[in-house]
């Protein structure tokens, strides 16, 4: 599955490329947070962005996900330009994300969190809801079944009716991933999914991400500091420093790249 470093394959890539980011830059006043970043995530790929703190990784995420409007550059999801779309439209096109800090609906139950993310797919008109028409009930049952499937998958079925805010941190992280996956995304973006996890939980996460790709065909774009996770899981890695891309390649190439060692790994 490993691909050559940033192989420019315009002819073959047309069908295989899922997310295409071209010359992306983001300027905040005098600060050029992201400087001319180009990368491509292919279908079924696990792609990682790494770099020291403040390198601009999350800013790249925010530009891709529609949180920020990039100063320059183009972002294409599945052939469709998305850099001008609002984030909820991008989400509906199949690009969903988690955040560095867990953003669950903390006072709602675990299962409600999963129902909420299906809201866009469920009909939510006022009157069918008030009168609970058979159609409404059927859709609600189906939504609950999907929620149960994903809770089982991430090992949270036993705590389905607890308030999400009361879960252990690792469980909250897994719930966030389930909440994304239940919408059948094409691309799952994870912003530091292993942050705050213990080694065992990190290994579970590694397995979960691989399972998601194998069983549900999702591509993954992640930002991560945990090198054991990144090196083990990624097909391709982009290294950024001070907003600029300094290397792209598979884990072995990145590990051996002197620029990367100097900028990043050398400082560990």
């Amino acid at each position: 599955m490993t691909l050559p470093a940033s192989a420019p394959t315009p002819a073959a890539g047309a069908g295989r490329s899922l997310l295409d980011v071209q010359n992306l830059s983001m300027r905040f006043g005098g600060l050029l947070a992201v400087d001319n970043v180009t990368f491509e995530v292919r279908r079924g790929q696990i792609f990682a962005i790494i770099g020291p703190n403040g390198a601009g990784k999350t800013t790249v995420f925010n530009c891709v996900g529609g949180f920020y409007r990039p100063t320059t550059g183009a972002v294409t999801l599945d052939g469709q330009p998305i850099q001008h779309l609002p984030s909820h439209r991008i989400a509906r096109l199949g690009l969903v994300r988690t955040f560095q800090n867990v953003r669950l609906f903390k006072t709602m139950t675990v299962v409600e969190n999963l129902l909420i993310s299906q809201h866009a797919q469920l009909e939510a008109r006022l009157l069918p809801g008030l009168f609970k028409t058979p159609k409404y009930r059927r859709a609600e049952t189906a939504a609950l079944e999907r929620a149960a499937f994903w809770l089982e998958k991430v090992g949270l079925l036993a705590v389905a009716n607890r308030e999400a805010g009361n879960l252990a941190y690792g469980q909250q992280r897994r719930l966030e991933i389930a909440r994304c996956m239940i919408t059948h995304p094409k691309l799952l973006m994870l912003d530091e999914p292993a942050a705050g996890l213990n080694p065992q939980e990190t290994r579970d996460l590694d397995r979960l991400i691989n399972e998601l790709r194998a069983e549900h065909g999702v591509s993954v774009l992640l930002i991560e500091h945990d090198m054991s996770l990144v090196m083990g899981i990624s097909d391709e890695i982009l290294v950024v420093e001070y907003g600029r891309p300094i290397a792209t390649g598979d884990p072995a190439a990145i590990r051996a790249n002197p620029k990367v060692i100097k900028a990043y790994l050398g400082e560990e």
């Binding site: 989400a91 953003r103 609906f105 006072t107 993310s117 809201h119």
Partner: protein
């Protein structure tokens, strides 16, 4: 103080609960809007006033058509007032608040004050500034107590207010806790950005919140109109202020809090009028607010502000 009997105490409870029901219905509108967009809708009192006017017109119209069943009058009037007032709520949000959604917090607040002044004057122009009265729809009640002493009076209207209020609150509670849209409302009040990212049309949820708040204010308006038989374009100001107080007292953003805050405020006013002097009722109401906020800044049932990132 010694001259007050148990029966008089009961009477104050009845009066307080009646008043408190009205405050609670209006307070829910404040608290729901605050819960979702963090804004105090200062025009909400005027929405309630419009609800009362629409109710009065509906009742007058129905009696012109010769409808005399109390149940029919009540149901049709409530339906009409909820529909019309709900559309006012929707329109106000659409025209005066939505365009300012991403402005600094003070801006929609000023806009709300403007809407409030506008609506008050708009009703004055249309309906005149004087009291408009109507014939009572529901009269009579029960008396309890000794024939020669103080008698507790419980009017049918007071019972009706309590029943209608409880019914609408139960309906709202069910809607919020059980329905899909209610779930979306709760999600938006916790993290609007995230809800939006998950594909929820937050503008629609916000509009719904305004419509629901306006509908409950309409119910309050109709009930007050029927209870006192009087409306004027200025009733929205003080009622809005009191209901806002009730919402803050209960914990702004919390729906059960608004209900509790309304009842507590109603009881406090009622007891103050009876045991001190009528003029002191507002003093007691607002003193109570200050006391509660000193001891529990988040209100009776409010949660501390969740950190937003």
């Amino acid at each position: 103080m010694s001259g007050f009997s148990f029966l008089e105490f009961v009477q104050q409870i009845i009066n307080g609960l009646t008043l408190g029901s009205i405050y609670a219905l209006i307070a829910i509108g404040y608290t729901m809007v605050y819960g979702i967009i963090g804004m105090i809708n200062f025009a909400h009192g005027e929405i309630y006033m419009i609800g009362a006017y629409v109710g009065l017109m509906a009742i007058t119209g129905l009696s012109l058509f010769g409808v005399d069943s109390i149940a029919a009058i009540l149901l049709v009037t409530l339906a009409i007032s909820i529909l019309v007032t709900g559309s006012y709520g929707w329109t106000v949000e659409r025209l005066a608040y939505r365009p300012l959604r991403n402005s600094p917090r003070l801006v929609p607040l000023i806009s709300a004050i403007g809407v409030s002044i506008f609506l008050q004057n708009y009703v004055q122009i249309g309906q005149g500034a004087r009291d408009v009265s109507m014939q009572p729809v529901l009269t009579g009640g029960w008396r309890f107590g000794p024939a020669d002493g103080f008698q507790v009076y419980l009017s049918y209207m007071q019972v009706l207010i309590a029943v209608v209020t409880v019914a609408f609150m139960a309906g709202l509670t069910l809607f919020i806790s059980r329905s899909r849209l209610g779930r979306a409302c709760r999600a938006c009040s916790q993290d609007r950005t995230m809800a939006n990212l998950l594909g929820i049309d937050t503008d629609r949820v916000i509009a719904l919140t305004f419509v629901l708040g306006a509908a409950l204010a309409a119910v309050a308006g109709v009930l007050v109109g029927m209870y006192y038989g009087l409306v004027n374009p200025f009733i929205g100001f003080i009622a809005g202020l009191k209901a806002f107080t009730a919402a803050v007292l209960g914990g702004i953003g919390s729906i059960p809090g608004a209900m509790l805050g309304g009842v507590v405020l109603g009881l406090a006013e009622s007891f103050a009028s009876a045991y001190l002097q009528t003029e002191y009722k507002d003093v007691v109401a607002f003193a109570l607010l200050i006391l509660v906020l000193l001891m529990r800044p988040t209100g009776l049932l409010g949660r501390p502000d969740v950190e937003k990132v």
